[in-house]
C-alpha cells in the first residue's frame, strides 16, 4: 500500500501478485466462490453431494500447497507487501487448514443446521421446510470464506489486509452462528450478539489502525516498527492506536475483559461451528496477535508488556473461576477456551524479550496445534451425546455417561485431562513449552498465576470426569449416537493427536522450532 502512496499522482502502478505463494488462500477462496455458484445453479438434492467433496478437497489441496511452500523454502512478503509468507504463517496456515478440515467433517452429520434460516422459529413455514427435508447448504461456502479469511488474517503484513481478513473471517461466522437446527432462538441471539460485539470490536481495530497511520504514516507492519524508533511528539497517537488495535485483536481471542461474547456464542452456535471457531479462529487470531505485537510493535514491547500482563492475568483468572459455576458443557468449554487464551497470552508476553523470542514463539505454535485438536475432539463428543431436544447440553445430563458408554466417556475424560495439562497428554507439553519460555523471559509471576489457574481449572475438568464415572446414570438419560462415521473419525483423530503429541511431541516441536526459527519476515 505504501508503494501506492509513494507513486507519483496520476499513475496507478499495476500491483504484482505472487500467485504461487498465495495459492493456498486462492484455492480456498476459489472453492468458496464455486460453492456459491453451486448454490445458484445446482439442483437442491445434489448440492450436499457437491459441497462436501468440494470443501474437503479444497482444504486438503490448500494444505498440500502449504506444505509445498514450506518445503520450497521461499520466505518473503507477497502481494505488494500485503501478505507475509514465512515460517510462522505457513505453520499457522497448516494448522488452520487441518483443524478446519476436521471441523468440516462434523458439518454434514446429523442435521446440525437449520432447514431454512429465513423462517421464523416455530412458524408453519419452518414446519413446511422441515417436512420438505430442506437443508441450508450455504454453510459450506460460508465456512470456506471464513477459513480463507482466517488464512489472510493470520498472514497479513499490513493493517489494511489484516482488517480485510478479519472481516472476511468474521462475517460468515456471524451468519453460521445463527444456523443451529435446534434451539433456534438461542442460536439467533448468539449470532446477533456476536455480530454486534464483533462490529464494535472491528470499529476499535479500525480506529486504532487510523491512529497508528497518523503516527507512522504507513499501515505496513514493518514500517510502523521502523517509525517507533524515530518519530516523537506523536506518542499519544501511537499509544492509543496500539491499545485500540490490541482491543480489536484481543476481542477475537476472547481475552478478558473482552471475553463476554464467548460463552454465549459458543453455546448458541451449532456445535460444528463452535468447533471451527474454538480451533481455527483462535489459531488465526493468535497468528495476527503475534504478527502485530512482534513485527509492528516489537520495539514498543517495554510499553505493551505490562498492560498485556494485566490482560493475561485477568483472562486466566476469569476463565478458570467462571468455569467452575457453569452447568452447560459448551459454556464450560467456552470458559476453558478463555483460560487457554490467557495461557497463550503468557507466551505472547514472553516473545517480547529479545533472547527468548524463538522459544516462546515455537511454544505458542505447538500449544495452538495441541489445543486445537483437543478442543475439536471435545466438541465432536458433545455432538454425540443427544437428548430428545438435540444435544444434551446440561452437565447433569452427563451423569453416569461412563457407565452407559465407557469408551466415549473415557475419550472425553482424556480430552479434559489434556485441557488440564496432565502429563502424557498434548496439553502438558503445550503448557510446559509456553510456561518454560515465559519463565526464562522473566515472567515468573505470570507463570505462577497460570499454574494456579490451571489448578482451579483442573477442578472443573475433573468434576465432569467424576460426574461421568462416579454418578449413577439417570433412567431417561441422553443416548450416545455413534452412527456417524465422520464424527467418530474426528474423535479418533483428535484423540490420536492428543496422545501422540503427549507421548512423542518431538517431531511437532521440531517443526514448530523450525517455523519459529525462520521468524517473521518484515
Amino acid at each position: 500500500m505504501s508503494t501506492l502512496l509513494a507513486a507519483p499522482p496520476g499513475t496507478i502502478p499495476a500491483p504484482t501478485i505472487e500467485y504461487t505463494q498465495l495459492a493456498p488462500m486462492m484455492l480456498v477462496f476459489g472453492a468458496a466462490i464455486v460453492g456459491v455458484l453451486v448454490e445458484a445453479f445446482a439442483p437442491r438434492h445434489l448440492r450436499s453431494a457437491v459441497h462436501v467433496p468440494l470443501t474437503l478437497l479444497s482444504l486438503a489441496g490448500a494444505f498440500a500447497l502449504t506444505i509445498l511452500l514450506a518445503v520450497d523454502g521461499t520466505r518473503n512478503v507477497a502481494a505488494m507487501g500485503a501478505v507475509a509468507v514465512d515460517g510462522p504463517s505457513l505453520f499457522i496456515h497448516g494448522t488452520i487448514l487441518v483443524l478446519a478440515f476436521v471441523s468440516v467433517l462434523l458439518f454434514n452429520e446429523r442435521l446440525q443446521f437449520v432447514s431454512q434460516a429465513a423462517s421464523v422459529p416455530g412458524s408453519t413455514e419452518e414446519e413446511d421446510s422441515l417436512e420438505e427435508g430442506a437443508v441450508q447448504t450455504e454453510v459450506y461456502p460460508l465456512a470456506l470464506f471464513a477459513i480463507g479469511g482466517m488464512l489472510l488474517f493470520s498472514a497479513a503484513n499490513d493493517l489494511l489486509a489484516m482488517f480485510v481478513g478479519l472481516e472476511v473471517m468474521s462475517l460468515p461466522l456471524y451468519l453460521l452462528c445463527g444456523l443451529a437446527r435446534r434451539r433456534r432462538l438461542l442460536s439467533q441471539e448468539a449470532a446477533v450478539k456476536y455480530f454486534l460485539l464483533g462490529a464494535f470490536s472491528s470499529a476499535f481495530f479500525l480506529y486504532g489502525m487510523a491512529l497508528i497511520y497518523g503516527f507512522a504514516g504507513s499501515v505496513d507492519l514493518a514500517k510502523i516498527n521502523d517509525a517507533l524508533g524515530s518519530a516523537s511528539g506523536r506518542d499519544t497517537l501511537l499509544y492509543v492506536g496500539a491499545a485500540l488495535l490490541g482491543v480489536g485483536l484481543l476481542f477475537k481471542i476472547g481475552a478478558a475483559p473482552f471475553q463476554a461474547w464467548k460463552p454465549d456464542v459458543y453455546q448458541g452456535a451449532p456445535t460444528p461451528i463452535t468447533a471451527l471457531m474454538a480451533s481455527g479462529t483462535l489459531v488465526a487470531a493468535f497468528g495476527a496477535v503475534l504478527r502485530v505485537f512482534w513485527v509492528a510493535l516489537g520495539n514498543l514491547d517495554w510499553d505493551w508488556r505490562p498492560v498485556m500482563w494485566g490482560v493475561a492475568i485477568l483472562t486466566m483468572v476469569v476463565g478458570a473461576i467462571l468455569a467452575i459455576t457453569q452447568t452447560d458443557i459448551k459454556r464450560m468449554l467456552a470458559y476453558s477456551s478463555i483460560a487457554h487464551a490467557g495461557f497463550l497470552l503468557t507466551g505472547v508476553i514472553a516473545t517480547g524479550g529479545p533472547a527468548q523470542n524463538e522459544e516462546a514463539l515455537s511454544g505458542i505454535l505447538f500449544y495452538l496445534v495441541a489445543y486445537g485438536f483437543t478442543t475439536v475432539g471435545a466438541f465432536a463428543v458433545v455432538t454425540m451425546v443427544r437428548d430428545a431436544g438435540g444435544e444434551a447440553g446440561h452437565l447433569s445430563r452427563w451423569a453416569g455417561l461412563g457407565k452407559r458408554s465407557p469408551l466415549l466417556a473415557g475419550v472425553f475424560a482424556f480430552f479434559l485431562l489434556a485441557f488440564a495439562g496432565i502429563p502424557l497428554t498434548s496439553g502438558f507439553f503445550g503448557k510446559y513449552a509456553v510456561f518454560a519460555a515465559a519463565v526464562s523471559g522473566g515472567a515468573t509471576p505470570l507463570v505462577i498465576v497460570g499454574v494456579v489457574s490451571s489448578a482451579i481449572a483442573a477442578f472443573f475438568y475433573v468434576r465432569v470426569i467424576v460426574l461421568m464415572f462416579f454418578s449413577d446414570p439417570a433412567p431417561d438419560g441422553p443416548t450416545v449416537d455413534v452412527s456417524s462415521m465422520g464424527t467418530a473419525a474426528v474423535v479418533a483423530v483428535a484423540a490420536a493427536a492428543t496422545v501422540v503429541l503427549g507421548v512423542l511431541p518431538q517431531p511437532v516441536l521440531d517443526l514448530a522450532d523450525a517455523a519459529a526459527h525462520s521468524l517473521f519476515v518484515r
Binding site: 464494535f200 475483559p257 473482552f258 505493551w304
Partner: protein, 646 residues
Amino acid sequence: MTSLLAAAPAAEIAQASGGVLGLSWLMIALPLAGAAILLVGGRRTNSFGHLLGTAMSLASFVVAVLAFFELLGRTAEQRRVGVELFDFIPAGQLDVKMGLLIDPLSISFALLITGVGSLIHIYSIGYMSHDPDRRRFFSYLNLFVAAMLLLVLADNYVGLYIGWEGVGLASYLLIGFWQFKPSAAVAAKKAFIVNRVGDFGLAIGIFTLFATFGTVAYGPIFEHADKASTGILTAVGLLLLLGACGKSAQLPLQSWLLDAMEGPTPVSALIHAATMVTAGVYLITRSNPIFDGAPTAQLAVAIVGAATLLAGAIIGCAKDDIKKALAGSTMSQIGYMMLAAGLGPAGYAIAIAHLITHGFFKAGMFLGAGSVMHAMNDDVNMRKYGGLRKVMPITFITFGLGYLAIIGFPGFAGYFTKDLIIEAAFGQEGVRGYLLGGAALLGAAITAFYMSRLMFMTFFGEKRWDKDAHPHESPPVMTWPLILLAIGSVGGGAFLVLGDRFIHFLEPVVGKPENHHGFNPVAPVGLITLVLVAAGVALAWVMYGRRPVPVEAPRGSFLTVFARRDLYGDAINESLLMRPGQWLTRFAVFFDNRGVDGLVNGLAAGVGGTSGRLRRLQTGFARSYALSMFFGAAIVAGALLLVGNL
C-alpha cells in the same frame, strides 16, 4: 564432597578366582530362591514346601562349609577374599558395587547362620507339622537366612543395610506369623517400629560414611579410617551403635524382644536368640577400625552392653513365661557380647566366640522350651510345669547341657567364653575396669540364679500340670536337632578358646589383642566367678528347688514387680514417646482439620463464591457486554498511555 579417597590405593583384599569362594553367592541365592519358589508357587508347593526350604538351607550350609575349608587352606594373610558380583548403583559419585567379602569373621557367621538355621529348619518340620501355613513359614525362614547371609557377607555398608532391612522384614513376618492372635500382630508391629529407630541411626551413619569417604565399601573405608577426624568417627560410631541397639535389643531399644516371643518357638530360637539379634555385635565388630578411632563411641558400646546384661538378667529372674525368661537371658548374653565388643581389640574375638557358643546353647534351650511347650499344649507358664525330667528325658538332658553351658559350669561352652569376657573387662584400666568387670561378674551370678530357677521350675519338683496335659517326648525330627546343638553347647567353648584357636583365626579381621595370655583356668577372676555362680545356683535351689512352687504367682517384692514389668521399659516408652507422640498426632490432625482443611475449603469456597458473583456480570445483554468492552478498551488505552509516558 571432600573425599578422603583422593588417591585410593587398591584395598588389600584378594579377589576370588574360581573355586568354591567364587560361588559363595550361592549361599545367599539358594535360600532366596527357596523363598521365592514357595511364595510365588503358593498352595501348589504346600506338599513339599517344608522339604524344599530345609534342603535350600542345608545346601547353603554345604557351600559355607566348603568355602570355610577353602579359606582354611590359605595362609592367614590371604584369608580375606572379595567376590565381585555386579555394579549395583552406578549413579554419579555414588557407585555401589555389590560384592561379597569372605573372611574369617563373615564365614564364622555364615556357618552359624546356615548350621543352626538348618537344624532349626529340620526341627520346624516337626514343630509346625500341624500348622496349615507351614509352607509360608518355611518361605519366611528361607527369606531370613538369605537376608542374614547378605548382611554378614556383603562387602559394603549398603549391602549390609539391605540384609539388615531384610532380616527386619523376616522378623516382622515371623513374629506376626500367627496373625489371628492380636498379641502377635501387635508384637510384630512393635518390633518393626522399635527397629525403625535403630535403622535410622544405621542409615544416617552410612550417609555420614559416604559423605566422609565417598564410598560405602568396607575396604577403602577401613583403610582410611584413621585419616578421618575423631569427631566424625565418634558420630558414625554412635549412629552405628544406635542401629546395633535396635537390632540386638540393647538398652534403650530393648522393649521389643520380650514381645517378639509371640512368634513360633523356632523363630525365637533362630532369629531372636541365635542369629539376627547378634547382628548388632557383628556390625560393631565389622566396623572395628571406626571404633578403634573413636574411644568415646567404644566406651558407649561397653556401657550399653554392661547395662543391658544386668537389665536382661534381672528381667529373666522374674518371668514365669519360659520363653520370656529365655528372652531376658538372650538380652543379657548379647549385653556380654556388646561389652566385649566395646573393649576394643582385646574383646572382638571373644565377643564373636561367645556369640557362637551362645548361638548353640541358646538355640538349643529355645528349641528345648519349644519341645516342652509342644508337650504341654503350648502352655508357657513354668508354674504349671514341674517334674518333667522323667517324661521328657532327651529334652531334659539337652536342655540341662545348655543350662550348664550358659551358667559357665567348668568345661562347658559358656565357661570359656564368658570367663574371657569378664577377665577382659577387668583388664581395662582403672575404675572403668572395675565397674565393667563388676557388672559382668554380678551378671554371671544373676544368670546362674535365674537359669537354675528355670530348670527347677520346669524339670524338678512335683507336677503342677493342668488336668488335660499329657506330656510326652517330642518326635525324633525335633530331638535330633536338640542333640546336635547340645554337642555344640558342651564342646564349642573349649574348641574355640583353648589354644586361642579362634582368636588367631579372626586376627586378619580384628587384629591381635594386646596383653592376651590365653585361657587360664585358675585365674583369680575365674575362681571368684565360679564362687558367685555356685551361690546363685544355691539361692535358686533354696527358693525353688527345696520349697514347693506356687501355681499362682505371689505378689512379690518391689524388685520382682520391677523385673516382671520389664524394668518399666514399656511404661517409660509410653510416657516419654507414645503419649507425646499421640498428642503430636492429635495436634497435627486438629491442625489439619481446622487449619489446612479450613484454609483449603475456605479457598475453594472463596473461589466458588467469586465465581458465583462474577457470573452475574454475564447478564446476557449485548449492551452490557459492549459497555464492559468499552471500559476495558478505555483501561487498556489508559494503561498503555500511562506506561508509555513513565
